[in-house]
């Protein structure tokens, strides 16, 4: 994330803390701009779909949210794995910071998927391969957060979460393919949200812009959350005491 010349300077919470603050602010600003642009494209600029009418516009939130939910899990597993392998404190904190945002996007993808399903297919929920996989992904996120919440010792929590996240990462393709197979076998549940309207260029642009907006938002919130985690975990140290005095 940082283009700084000396990476390792920022590998300790004390030095990363102020940088994280600045980055969070700027990414937050970028996120607002990108999301506003994306929403404008999605809800105003893109043409009405021939088959699905206006209701399809929810796709501009649904698809980027789904992309983010998967991407964030991978990033989370990456940071967690790094922390497990090299015993760095900051990596574990980043993984823990990402989890709630990832879960949020998963939930958003599910909710918007449901909102899309109702006008299009008549039901609030379809056992579509992607939606079902998203649901299981949500459980994976909850499992990670619940495990970390249940462990008092932060180091054990980081390491245990890392093992879980890595096992989850290995399982995600397996889960996706088995659910897809299950979906095609049971032809009764044939309504599929994968039948998205064929992409006009504007539609695709809208989704990409939204995706960037969500990505910047994720970075901003993850950094803010990481700052809170740093303050909490290092509260016995001097720099936190100085920071508290400084802002009081």
């Amino acid at each position: 994330m940082s283009g700084g010349i000396n990476w390792f300077k920022y590998s300790s919470p004390q030095t990363f803390f102020p940088l994280a603050g600045k980055l969070a602010f700027w990414f937050g600003v970028l996120a607002l701009i990108a999301c506003a642009a994306g929403l404008y494209i999605g809800f105003f600029a893109a043409p009405t779909d021939a088959q699905q009418g206006e209701a399809y516009r929810i796709i501009f939130i649904h698809v980027p949210a789904a992309w983010m939910s998967m991407f964030l899990y991978l990033v989370m597993a990456f940071w967690a794995g790094l922390g497990l392998a090299f015993n760095t404190r900051l990596s574990g904190m980043m993984a823990s910071a990402l989890a709630p945002t990832g879960a949020l996007f998963t939930f958003l993808a599910l909710w918007t998927g449901s909102l899309w399903g109702k006008p299009t297919w008549g039901t609030w929920w379809v056992w579509d391969a992607r939606l079902t996989s998203e649901l299981i992904l949500l459980f994976l996120y909850f499992g990670f957060m619940a495990l970390q919440a249940a462990i008092d010792d932060p180091r054990r929590a980081d390491k245990a979460g890392a093992v879980l996240a890595l096992v989850g990462v290995v399982n995600i393709p397996i889960i996706y393919f088995s659910v897809k197979w299950w979906n095609t076998l049971h032809q009764g549940a044939s309504v599929s949200l994968t039948q998205a309207p064929t992409m006009a260029a504007t539609m695709f642009a809208g989704m990409i812009v939204m995706a960037f907006g969500f990505w910047f938002y994720s970075i901003a919130t993850a950094l803010m959350r990481a700052r809170c985690i740093m303050l909490e975990r290092e509260r016995a140290s001097e720099w936190v005491a100085d920071y508290a005095k400084g802002s009081a």
């Binding site: 015993n87 008092d152 010792d153 016995a236």
Partner: protein, 213 residues
């Protein structure tokens, strides 16, 4: 009368241990060679057990490392553990197994080839003759501790003993017996680390006293 050590040394380098919020100790180091006894003292909660567990490789120190023959024990793994006996606070004794079975399992897992008669002898040395075939459930606290310690009688070839409060819950006779085992082991040129509140009659070569914070 000490033999020259033929065993590698256990080196602790710049150990720091933080449990939750508290830093139990910082910058701790020692070198333990064959024929030496390290005694760790300190009040309750001062980190004695944590230090022992770090020395065994069960706990990872927040900083620093422990070396056996110059190599980090976390890299050596089984190679180091084959040369170690750890008797912790908790007796690793299963209630549903008999004393004999418990000891048999402990030896096999540690890679010690011990036959039934030898195991019976070990239990007898610790004063448990007649209790061999009783499930550990019916034994008293002291007897269970002795089952756990009986392993020492079979571990003469193991170069490093790490004992956490070995004399706890023992009566005077058993304490004498265990002290004999420890003294014998040290005089054979092996190394022992122990924590205890008792004033043991074996002279400690090294002492580390951890302060309670």
């Amino acid at each position: 009368m000490e033999k020259t050590s033929g065993i590698p040394s256990l080196e602790a380098v710049d150990l720091q241990c933080t449990r939750g919020e508290r830093t139990l100790f910082n910058g701790l180091g020692f070198t333990l060679r064959g024929g030496e006894l390290l005694r760790i003292g300190g009040a309750n909660g001062s980190g004695k057990t944590s230090l022992l567990r770090i020395a065994c490789g069960l706990l990872e120190p927040t900083r620093g490392e422990v070396r056996w023959a110059g190599e980090n024990i976390r890299r050596l793994q089984e190679e180091f553990w084959r040369r170690l006996v750890y008797v912790g606070h908790v007796n690793a004794v299963k209630d549903d197994l008999t004393a004999l079975e418990n000891l048999q399992v402990a030896c096999t897992l540690a890679g010690l080839a011990a036959k039934r008669p030898q195991i019976g002898d070990a239990l007898r040395v610790l004063g448990l003759a007649g209790c061999e075939n009783l499930p550990a459930r019916v034994l008293s606290q002291g007897q269970r501790r002795r089952v756990a310690l009986a392993r020492l009688a079979l571990s003469e070839a193991v170069p490093l003993w790490v004992l956490d409060e070995p004399f706890a819950a023992l009566d005077a006779a058993a304490v004498e017996c265990v002290q004999d085992l420890i003294a014998g082991h040290v005089s054979r040129g092996a190394a022992v680390i122990l924590t205890t509140h008792l004033e043991a009659r074996i002279a400690a070569t090294l002492r580390i006293d951890l302060e309670a914070s």
